[in-house]
Symmetry: C2
Subunit: 322 residues, 2 copies
Amino acid sequence: MSQTLGEFDLIRRYFERPVRRAALGVGDDCALLALSPGMQLAVSTDMLVEGRHFLTTVPPRRLGHKALAVNLSDLAACGARPLAFTLALSLPRADETFVAGLAEGLFALAEAHDIELVGGDTTAGPLNLCITVMGEVPAGQALLRSGARTGDELWVSGQLGDARLALEVFRGRLAMDAAAMEQVRTAMEQPQPRVQLGMALRGVASAAIDLSDGLIGDLGHILQRSGVGAQVELARLPHSAVLAAQPPALREECLLAGGDDYELLFCAPAGRHDAVLEAGRLSGVPVQCIGHITARPGLCVVDAAGQAVPLQRLQAFDHFKS
Amino acid sequence: MSQTLGEFDLIRRYFERPVRRAALGVGDDCALLALSPGMQLAVSTDMLVEGRHFLTTVPPRRLGHKALAVNLSDLAACGARPLAFTLALSLPRADETFVAGLAEGLFALAEAHDIELVGGDTTAGPLNLCITVMGEVPAGQALLRSGARTGDELWVSGQLGDARLALEVFRGRLAMDAAAMEQVRTAMEQPQPRVQLGMALRGVASAAIDLSDGLIGDLGHILQRSGVGAQVELARLPHSAVLAAQPPALREECLLAGGDDYELLFCAPAGRHDAVLEAGRLSGVPVQCIGHITARPGLCVVDAAGQAVPLQRLQAFDHFKS
């Protein structure tokens, strides 16, 4: 009924694209999807709120990328292959430029992972993006948080801490030159979900999680679910030259409790060391062994001299504290 | 890591319940679900924003019910059987009383439909609830908006317009006695998703949609997708005695463009008239034939005298206009 066509319907149309794989996409009451035989559905939801998960200064294109990236990162942590996603969007006003940029960033990443937007909702309200991703994983092969075993090696992908450095700059607590800022800002605003690595780690890793809240907090989830402890070697944590140039206390905070890294943290039996390196090579993502799982509960971080680093002074990122 | 346990983690725990059917529920990176063989996954997402989709006056228990109900209503409109849902929740503060009420309403309806909360996200921010429901439907049997054919009868379940009456009272434009108010407020705050009816209409209905934005707007989606028109008889639209007692112009507005009804609007070949009545009986929901599908495009609403009702004066509920 054309008489009910509001400005918002026009905005909504930025997100209506023909689907190739889904049986039915955006525009009906539900989307319809088929899974391959023997596959389980993997589902994850993340909600991004302005001022909390992203700054007002973020270019819309990068926001679109990030909103989908953090969700794909959850599928990666399960070793699932992404299939499709839904988007619910609350916008203060029907701002076409903003929506066009958002759609551009979202669909560029979606196409890079060969997935489709199959449904959604658009409404007026404070800026909020909620994405639900769906993927598939062979039944029984999903990487869980609960599988870590004593003696497993502990690994991380990519580099840690740059996203937190960017946040410190935006908060006005830190200054750096333009090239360094562009690097850390890209880490914060354009994380690359480690989907290929997650899939390559099926049958190799014993447990996995994606790093969204900081190494200590997220490792804590694995330890708690697996009923084990861990020792982490601070000097082995992979980081950029920009982070290396920061004062030690800030460096430590960014590495251990930075948040927003969206790298994979995972465990694998020591005997699968080479298989992990091969999974990293195959997926084009550096992987670094950073410690091991212990029978003794709790987390011990040691410095280059083998001394325990006191963790009391660190606070993993908590959405309700910061 | 207990040192990172914030107030928000406590709130989050209201939503962590053991899953019975899903392979893996809340608490890992993804939830895992298996579909039955031959089934397609049906997915829908709805976002509810305070002041837009619900009033600040709504009791939290009713809000929890409604947030899930409007999503289940989308599955109902596809004829899908609900399986599971995710919840993303943005809250201004960690208000335990509010969250306890919300969880109570949500889980009561979930249990009534034998479905599970399998994942979610909780964050600080303006009040916003985003639910994604997943269901299953035999491949090729989903009810779509595009299946209406010339000569089909047009049907609606339940009664229309009471939810809109309640909104008018809350807006201060209308007054009514307490008993009447309780009835229309219940219609607004506690809609019953027509899940059983939707499943019973598989193989009977040719097209279906759920009524969220008002009869005219939602029927428009069926007509547009199906490439047909419709004639609706105003006098046949099912309504309560409370609505019948209102002035004709308001009654008409509520029936044709009320919004928030969450009844099913569907089409079926005239030869399936008795099958539709039987589906209504089986699911315990009244169904009413309100008109028919025409080859001529557009919507014609006629009054009891057979005169066309001018629709220009009506506005279907648009989230960006009201």
